[in-house]
């Protein structure tokens, strides 16, 4: 088993990284590329704190082999702020106090983006279902659901994309 070179696109940048055998996408993003918004709350696929988009789809980076992300387009939370401007979805999290300790937030915002990209006008229950793989221990979820509702409303008002 040897280290391997893989190429992938992360937040719009082409990256070539050397990976250890069985390295996860999370290892590559957090440790190699230092994209530390990708959190590591359980390593079991149970908390969603490591959520990223792979080719536009919500994935858990802790359960994704880096080798299998070769050639993929990966978006982490950092990828939402390429121009530094805070996006409406993030702004809605701020305005609704949808974070306390903040550890779940990066995964939560990415999961919300995945939901809104697919369904720009979700019902409350669709939001609850869309975020059901992401745990939060502080807020009681209600502010998070409200933030996503507000973001969806803002997007429909302006016709913009989620991020």
């Amino acid at each position: 088993m040897e280290d391997k070179l893989i190429r992938l696109t992360v937040n719009g940048r082409d990256e070539a990284v050397v990976i250890r055998p069985l390295a996860t996408l999370q290892d590559v993003l957090r440790d190699t590329l230092e994209l530390t918004a990708v959190k590591s709350g359980c390593g079991q696929g149970g908390c969603g704190s490591c959520s990223v988009l792979v080719d536009g789809e919500l994935r858990l980076s802790c359960l994704t082999l880096a080798e299998r992300a070769e050639g993929a387009e990966v978006t982490t939370l950092e990828g939402l702020n390429e121009t530094n401007a805070i996006v409406p979805l993030q702004q809605a999290f701020v305005e609704n106090y949808a974070a306390q300790c903040g550890y779940c937030t990066a995964g939560m915002v990415v999961a919300a983006k995945a939901l809104l990209d697919r369904n720009p006008a979700p019902s409350r229950d669709e939001i609850v279902e869309g975020l059901s793989g992401n745990l939060c221990r502080c807020t009681g979820f209600a502010p998070i659901v409200r933030a996503v509702q507000q973001a969806a409303q803002a997007l429909s008002d302006t016709g913009e994309e989620a991020s």
């Binding site: 959190k39 590591s40 390593g43 908390c47 702004q91 974070a99 300790c101 937030t105 990066a106 502080c138």
Partner: protein, 448 residues
């Protein structure tokens, strides 16, 4: 207290870290990157209670990528400790790394430090421990029944010993037996809470980074940086000034990050290797190894008059401390001191015991000692109301403590607003109270 006109206190100014959270830019302990960082994994006891016959670390040390293996023999300072020793709580009863005996499944025995987390895990799995299993005890009342094996010589009857040889943290106020004799009704029940995991989204962890000048910087998610630093120094026999603890932004605590569970061994590993060392609990460790909220069992006996006055309350409670003390004696004192809840009673008797079992050690969580007390008391209040056929709202208002009342711990009550809070909740819930109950205030006991 008369309040002057306030400016920014009382205003909603937002929360400072929210934007950096939403952007994923908040820096937690493990978001710093150091080259040549090593990773620590712990080999833990597979038995809940056993004598350790032999520990063989040779295969672990020879495992690919393993740099260093630490057992109790490598500890330069204390072999056993308690976090509150500096403020006089003792005796120190918990091994930093187990040596002669293990007392709970998951107890740390050998630390394995390697180039990668996977190599450290593989190395830790190769530590061989030979056990001579002992019978375990898991139930608090069984543990103190006299027929259970004693966990340590410190506690021959498996319960904590308070000053003056008391078996419990006590409250003795009035005469409960006299109160029971006078009461129209006796209401009794048993209550049980469960061990609960704080479950912060970020598990316990730290990175210990040698500075090259003999000092070590520890990035940690402890809830108490000075406490963690001073205990780490005391455990390792270091001058505290050798250590700098950096923290302050934590991915959730809830009481689960007070144990100084990861820092001492990481600092020792960093001192040994001269390299940064990271020790991060897996979620599995966080669930089954890190302290839980203590489980509590309570027996409550009330003497109640026909008019609803509770004239005597006797409480015996058992806090399941698990195998070691940690902060349990503090928790039981807080628990006892909280009794009998937000109510005034002339006769109160409390025995709050800390009991040792072969379970993972328990500790603080959000509302240490008080959550279980509130749970039991408020279920008991409903039973009292039902027994005497009284509206449970009125029962609570009648008995609610007032300013100026003497509490069971003999402090005169101040800052009370229980009556107003209950009245407001009744209004919010649409529960109509009779006029005399609406007219009650937290200041009316002295007037009546």
């Amino acid at each position: 207290m008369s309040m002057k006109e306030l400016g920014v206190v009382g205003r909603n100014v937002g929360q400072r870290d929210l934007e950096s959270h939403a952007r994923g830019q908040t820096t937690y302990y493990e978001d710093v990157h150091y080259p040549r960082m090593l990773h620590l994994k712990m080999h833990r006891s597979a038995e809940p209670h056993a004598n350790i016959v032999k520990v063989d670390t040779r295969k672990a040390a020879a495992s690919p990528g393993v740099v260093c293996v630490l057992t109790h023999e490598d500890l330069p300072g204390k072999k056993v400790w308690n976090g509150l020793a500096a403020v006089g709580v003792g005796p120190e009863d918990e091994p930093v790394l187990a040596f002669d005996k293990v007392r709970w499944r998951g107890e740390p025995i050998v630390a394995v430090i390697a180039e990668t987390p996977e190599a450290a895990r593989a190395g830790a799995a190769k530590v061989e421990v030979e056990y001579d299993p002992l019978p375990g005890v898991f139930d608090v009342e069984e543990a103190i029944s006299g027929s259970a094996p004693a966990l340590t010589a410190h506690w021959p009857h498996n319960h904590y010993i308070y000053p003056d040889d008391h078996a419990a943290s006590q409250i003795r106020f009035g005469d409960v037996e006299k109160g029971f004799a006078e009461a129209d009704h006796i209401v009794e029940d048993k209550y049980q809470t469960s061990p609960i995991e704080q479950a912060p989204m970020e598990t316990n962890g730290c990175i210990a980074k040698p500075g090259g000048d003999g000092r070590i910087t520890v990035h940690t998610n402890t809830q108490a940086v000075h406490f963690a630093r001073d205990n780490t120094a005391a455990i390792l026999g270091l001058a505290p000034g050798k250590l700098r603890f950096l923290g302050g932004t934590v991915g959730g605590g809830f009481g689960g990050k007070v144990d100084v569970a990861v820092e001492p061994i990481s600092v020792l590993a960093a001192m040994r290797t001269g390299r940064p060392v990271k020790f991060k609990y897996t979620r599995e460790e966080e669930m089954q190894v890190s302290s839980t909220r203590s489980a509590w069992r309570l027996y409550i006996k009330d003497g109640v008059m026909n008019d609803g006055r509770i004239v005597a309350r006797k409480i015996t409670s058992y806090q399941d401390s698990g195998a070691y003390l940690r902060f349990s004696s503090y928790g039981s004192m807080k628990h006892a001191g909280h009794m009998p809840g937000p109510y005034t009673m002339p006769n109160v008797w409390v025995d709050a015991r800390v009991v040792f079992t072969n379970r993972p050690p328990s500790s603080a969580m959000r509302g240490f000692g008080v959550m279980a007390a509130s749970f039991a008391i408020e279920l008991q209040m409903d039973k009292v109301a039902k027994t005497i056929g009284m509206d449970p709202w009125q029962l609570r208002l009648l008995n609610a403590y007032r300013n100026g009342d003497m509490r069971a711990h003999r402090k005169v009550n101040e800052d009370a607003a229980m009556v107003e809070t209950i009245q407001a909740a009744a209004r919010l819930a649409g529960h109509e109270l009779p006029a005399e109950y609406q007219a009650m205030t937290s200041w009316d006991r002295k007037a009546s």
